[in-house]
Symmetry: C2
Subunit: 381 residues, 2 copies
Amino acid sequence: MRSFTFQNPTKLIFGKDKISSLAHEIDKNKKIMITFGGGSVKKNGVYDQVKQALQGFSTVEFWGIEPNPSIETLRKAITLGKAENIDFLLAVGGGSVLDGTKLIASAIPSQYDGWDLVIGKHPIEKILPFATVLTLPATGSEMNAGAVISKHETQEKFAFTATHPQFSILDPTVTFSLPPYQIACGIADTFVHVIEQYLTKTNESPLMDRWAEGILQTLIEIAPKIKADTHDYDTMSTFMLSATMALNGFVAMGVTQDWCTHMIGHELTALHGIAHGETLAIVLPGTMTVLKEQKAGKIRQLGERVFNIKQADPQDAITQTIAQTETFFRSLGLKTRLSEHGIGQDTINEIEKRFTARNVCFGENQNVNGALTRKILEQVL
Amino acid sequence: MRSFTFQNPTKLIFGKDKISSLAHEIDKNKKIMITFGGGSVKKNGVYDQVKQALQGFSTVEFWGIEPNPSIETLRKAITLGKAENIDFLLAVGGGSVLDGTKLIASAIPSQYDGWDLVIGKHPIEKILPFATVLTLPATGSEMNAGAVISKHETQEKFAFTATHPQFSILDPTVTFSLPPYQIACGIADTFVHVIEQYLTKTNESPLMDRWAEGILQTLIEIAPKIKADTHDYDTMSTFMLSATMALNGFVAMGVTQDWCTHMIGHELTALHGIAHGETLAIVLPGTMTVLKEQKAGKIRQLGERVFNIKQADPQDAITQTIAQTETFFRSLGLKTRLSEHGIGQDTINEIEKRFTARNVCFGENQNVNGALTRKILEQVL
């Protein structure tokens, strides 16, 4: 087992009607900026519940944080936050609103431009306290310190580390009205978060393996139930809890991580605007195929324990596990091939060029560079 | 899924040679009381590593916190802590030293006697910050807020809630020299911690079920390996991580809990001094047998997923799962019957009398009272 340090101080407040507890969790003396996405929270009642809970608090609203939050949009929120002397942020929305808010919280106390904080040109010195009301299970942002920000100007998308939310409120009933495509992307995102922390080396942390497999098994179990009925409280609760547990460090103790599928997926979103979850459904089968020797032990373990594949021939078992993974994504209704999005060699050339220029080396063996990324993407044309 | 609030801020520092990181984790201005058990840390090198790391810090040592820490011993530490104006505590030892230190940290700032804080006669108003260096994986005390304290005078043992350690250092190499009996008790304790949060109602939180089963599967997998070799770093790391994860709230989200086996076990320790882990190995098969109808669904799930029992007949499957549970404890080298400790009806009478006087009702259905406890104990005579 690898040595590790783990700490996750976020308070998770989980259950129906929990949005009302906002009033007890935030200091009344704070000047709060509430951040939102495009307005779905006005239709599903979340906005009204938040406003009701925060009656008597001093609040400013910022609307319009888009999917794959852009620095261009977030700069407006940062300017507003500085002008209004905001000292607490409440993100109400999905992973994009949460991620964007992590940058706003980091940039309001800073003299530097937000993008410089994302790319690490200047360090984040202070972060305003913030909390979240989650409306879309997927990114895990509600219980981790990370965020991913896009820059439209240069078609770039980068991850950075801020800090953990003070608390996050997860009311499963707010997911009932989500569009099926967003749910499918959320399930795929959750699945691949686990895979990035699991499908690397064998026997590093047997308990973490079991927990990672437990999330994957649960997702496979609930996916068809969610497709049949997005209004079942217990099923949607399990989906919401799984998404949070997939990327809060709980399955990462003592193991080597990968993240090459995410890094490649970010490029597809940056260049073509494909939803994050769907980019992962495309890239992962390619990653598994190209790295099937390096990942052989874990792919077989995944096949045996999660997909119940008991092949005598190891190569057959590996092939079948990769096929089952793609089949799972397709069962969610997601596309798994670049050509289905009209993407071809031009994009592969551009991503290879970018990765080579940045001199990247992703993955558990730090061997996924521009050239290997080309191979991965050519597998899933 | 039940609604819940989860928060666990403890920083876990895990790995070989991590004791040296003490120096970076504690404020140099603090006056530290270091608490110890009986002296094994002087033999295994832990004491030297702690002293080395804390060179230049202002420290006071308190020695002699015994297994099942007693208020009689802890009062001496509390008096010393007040006299020395201690404002930080570092527990170096197993669960008993950690639990005792939680009471010391709660009682130094209090005007009331420590026992009154344990039994809730007076509230805990302030707790000194504390941290731990764990030497015996078992209780989970290194990453939770709970503690159990005994009172020799009245042969009583009660649990109370303090707060989480600021940080805990877990170096698996310190477990290499543990006596086999202590390890066996630690495995049994870990196993039953999970069972108390799992073997209740079905389908409340499918992901938590998987995670609970993951710990149980891991324990069953590593137990014979530990028996064969207590010096294998990876195996002992997995044991240490499993013990911490079994009682830090990570498998408790959204589920109903039981804890009757622990409550009954505490009485056996209070009255006869039997090691905590071994009391659980005695009581659990009795609890499962007496409550086999109430717990039928979960016992079958345990049998199927953890012990790989695939009986067509449900009653056979239940009987076999209970038998396998007892077999597992015996494979650790633990006794599982009261008579093996020379305990008979007198003790059962006394425990029934105590529970009836206290008007207790333990378990997921709050139906384990004095009379039902008698039935449980008579099963395991």
